[in-house]
Symmetry: C2
Subunit: 355 residues, 2 copies
């Protein structure tokens, strides 16, 4: 996996680091960027000119296809630093595979695996100081690909740009997460692009999420577009439900993102002997469980938030408050995941990847 390609990455270093201008105790997620970024263009049928240069603006034609047709995919991953200054990624091979899977669905050429890893190594190495040790601190990595060819006809681009941006992050959510179950709007459908991290999937959720916010909910839990009977996932997290001692989560489909955190939680649950069911989850059974007191926890799982306990959910006219989760599964999984990510526990699964 560490193999280096023929392509030499050209590195142009920043004159003076911007790191002193950033208050690492007051980070807004995704707002500040590290000194360098990676860039590689797809032209004439091949990826070329891999370059690391100071984070800075792009120059693009206003007719670039990404602006008009949303032909773009992305990934989200994090670099963590342990107390000895060692830096780790968490299952980066999963993100590498997934960005290419997303790319295929969006008619975007795949990006070479070896170059993906070489870029990560070189880029993270240059901006190592931007990763702060300490629980919850990380450097959020945003690989993405977008269509850059100029042309306002609705057909795939012949040119693309692959980039990696890096943004220092603290914990993603502050406070309670209250969610609402979707009854009218939907995120994806069978045969659609929901399983891809396609740019347009996210913009499409902003309006319904704004409506939810106006009612006091931070996130929407999406349901199937046909009948709104099955619970699928949240905007940037997969979702787990605990009824009595059993953990339940929806199966992967072409409507649901195959989350790295999700599959890690499933693996941890299996290892710990926690009963876990991966199967369609009915809204009605969750509402019934909330009513009869057997619904113990709901939590989201995703790279940005790690594990995000849900304190209440809204459905139709009602709001269901959940018991406090201290000591629950969400606390347990969050600790287990973060202990692996920050190199505080044995890595029995081989999930850590040192940079």
């Amino acid at each position: 996996m560490n193999k280096v390609t023929q392509d030499q990455i050209k590195v142009q270093k920043i004159g003076t680091s911007k790191i002193d201008q950033v208050d690492f105790n007051k980070l807004l997620f995704g707002k500040d960027f590290s000194d360098h970024m990676f860039e590689c263009d797809y032209i004439d049928g091949k990826w070329q000119n891999p370059t690391i240069r100071p984070f800075g603006p792009l120059t693009l034609s206003p007719a670039a296809k990404v602006f008009h047709y949303g032909q773009a995919v992305f990934e989200g991953m994090k670099a963590y630093k342990d107390d000895n200054g060692k830096v780790f990624l968490f299952r980066p091979d999963e993100n590498q595979k997934r960005i290419n899977k997303s790319a295929v669905r969006m008619a975007i050429p795949e990006f070479p695996e070896a170059l993906f890893f070489e870029a990560l190594h070189k880029l993270i190495d240059l901006d190592r100081d931007w990763i702060k040790p300490g629980n919850g601190n990380s450097l959020y990595l945003r690989p993405f690909v977008m269509a850059t060819q100029a042309g306002v006809s609705a057909s795939p681009s012949d040119e693309y740009k692959f980039m990696i941006l890096m943004s220092p992050a603290q914990a993603y959510y502050t406070g309670d997460v209250r969610v609402v179950i979707a009854e009218h709007y939907s995120r994806s459908s069978n045969g659609g692009v929901g399983a891809a991290k396609a740019a347009g999937n996210y913009g499409a959720q902003f309006y319904p999420t704004n409506l939810a916010r106006e009612k006091g909910f931070q996130q929407v839990i999406w349901t199937d577009s046909d009948e709104h009977k099955y619970l699928e996932e949240a905007g940037t997290m997969n979702v787990f439900f605990r009824i009595n001692d059993t953990l339940i989560t929806a199966p992967i489909s072409d409507r649901i993102l195959d989350g790295v955190t999700r599959k890690s939680v499933i693996a941890l649950a299996e290892k710990e002997g926690i009963p876990i069911e991966v199967r369609p989850v009915l809204v009605s059974e969750i509402v019934a469980a909330a009513k009869n007191g057997t619904l113990k926890e709901i939590f989201g799982a995703g790279t940005a938030a790690v594990i995000s306990p849900v304190s209440a959910f809204g459905y139709k006219e009602d709001v269901y408050e959940l018991p406090s989760t201290d000591g629950g599964y969400s606390t347990k999984f969050k600790k287990a995941l973060m202990d692996i990510q920050y190199n505080r526990s044995e890595d029995t699964f081989g999930w850590r990847y040192e940079i």
Copy 2:
């Protein structure tokens, strides 16, 4: 509608026109752009700095939200020139309303109607020479709005850019259009963004359309995502079916774009006394009609292609060839629409809009 706003559009003219570099007899759709473009930014909660300047590149942060979350919408309209050099738009009020409807669904601020029209007037007036008279010739107009704020957190942008680009065009389709009926992939779903001209809707169709092309079809006719039982629309056209003498087209829903050409065809059919049914169209009834010879025509309707007769459709393992449409409804509607667009017939509906 012609009212001018307080905002003064700043105009920066090109030094030397590029018009001589363009071969107007060999235009590729959406490839060449006229001398000028319009640009206006949404910053601090309002649209500001409306500017016309030479067509040229944009400078954007690589973290601009449009790249990551596809928060962008667009329109497509055309300017036509009659034989006396007069220039007309076709029902531009419909596009103005629709871009704002799309914007609302994508959590993008609406663009002021008066400024939209003022920009169209000034911009088209400057590049009047780019519009060639003659049937099929036009200047394709591409208004669009995109999220420009830098930030890789999945939430609506605080900043946007509205632009209008203009591209000289000839007829859109050359040759037969063969379409395939979608059986697996889908374009949109209930509660989704299919009724909006949201950028991501188009990129999401490229892959399934590529698969169709490999099988010899140029376009996909999308079906409902639940069961693939109902015919909805094509990638950039609404679709009409003629069984015996009756015209049938699917009703507008939140899955289908409310096309200007579609509603114009419906109005023309009603005026001409052609029986028209706007109702869900079953795949099975179209296949049956193709088999028993009552399916006379299928055609697409959209700004780019005007009316695009379909010569054959594929469904499951079979391909159904359609009779030649010369003298059919598609020929009739195409002529009626173009006669209005090119100022060759009386405009009883008030659809022409002179610039």
